[in-house]
Amino acid sequence: MVNHPELRGRRYLDDEERPLSATDVERHVEKLQEDKNALHLKVVANEELVGYATVDYSWDTLFPFVGLVIAPDYQRSGYGSEAARLLIDWAFTNLPATAMHSWIADWNEAALRFSASLGFAEAGRVRRDGIHDGRFSDSIPVEILRSEWEATRAH
């Protein structure tokens, strides 16, 4: 899944662009299992693996990072929205967080629209943070405050 061309640059792995071997992926999963400062989850629908999700609070439990990846074949099926909702609700319910954030590459318009639909606001533009398709790309940090999350739950 992680080598699917449509996921390049949006898979929330240390190495965003390089093709990964099965061994690379195994090592990565082993590392995740050791991680005591983050929650790493599979997204499963109808008993099939459709993606993966992360809540990482190693920097600060006040301000966790959230990341969600849905395999291209399963996108636009509502899995992403439901998984994101569950993930964000879990984090604000179980962590003493005041806000949450994620990072999205500037060319990834679908993810920017998706994060806006979940109530995240863009917090700026960090220039030349990545390399994608033969150019440097910028990163857009997005954030949601606890009060904003509560407002999205009210309706």
């Binding site: 006040l62 005041t98 220039r127 030349r128 033969g134």
Partner: protein, 192 residues
């Protein structure tokens, strides 16, 4: 290989710097991130970190001690981390309070930024601080950084919920400040 400025010199870290580094780490004013406290870093801890460093041709971080040129006294630390070779790096600075207000931090930052662009050939330098530290933001602006992003309620320090402030400086912005230097490397991809 010390990097010489007018007011300060950046040199390699030495065993004898552990006391200064412990003092900087344990000071709520010079340590930007309260979440890394309680301030009980010990000299042996810092010495251990120093001794654990190994020789490498491609280190992804660099640590320098800032020396006052007039006296040869060590007054602080500057460094880069998270180096993506020929692409990007983040920087940080900590100076003893007795050395504040003399232009030392500004020159130390400028020397480091220059090293990153002119020797390590990066395309962008990043810097993270918070809204409770307007001195750091002003200092970074003086050496060519711009505020790139602000994330609300991201930092808690001194009883206040603060913004995380990310700043950046592009290669061409550095060279625009230095018309005396020629950029033979440029942006290998052409334009952004």
């Amino acid at each position: 290989m010390p990097i010489e400025g007018t007011l300060v010199t950046l040199r390699e870290e030495r065993d004898s710097d552990a006391e200064l580094l412990a003092a900087l780490r344990n000071d709520l004013d010079t340590q930007a991130w309260s979440k890394t406290l309680p301030p009980d870093y010990t000299v042996p801890m810092l010495r251990k970190r120093y001794e654990a460093r190994e020789f490498s041709y491609d280190p992804l971080e660099g640590r320098f001690i800032v020396e006052e040129r007039s006296t040869g006294t060590a007054i602080g630390y500057v460094g880069y981390s998270g180096l993506q070779r020929r692409h990007s790096a983040g920087i940080g600075v900590m100076l003893s309070k007795s050395a504040w207000g003399k232009g030392y931090a500004e020159e130390a930052n400028e020397l480091l930024v220059r090293f990153l662009f002119v020797e390590l050939g990066v395309q962008v330098v990043h810097l993270w601080t918070h809204s409770g530290n307007p001195r750091a933001i002003g200092l970074a602006e003086k050496v060519g950084f711009k505020v790139a992003a602000r994330m609300r309620h991201a930092v808690y320090k001194n009883g206040r919920l603060l913004d995380n402030v990310v700043m950046d400086q592009l290669r061409e912005e550095f060279y625009a400040r230095h018309p005396e230097l020629e950029d033979e490397l440029g942006n290998p991809f052409g334009t952004d």
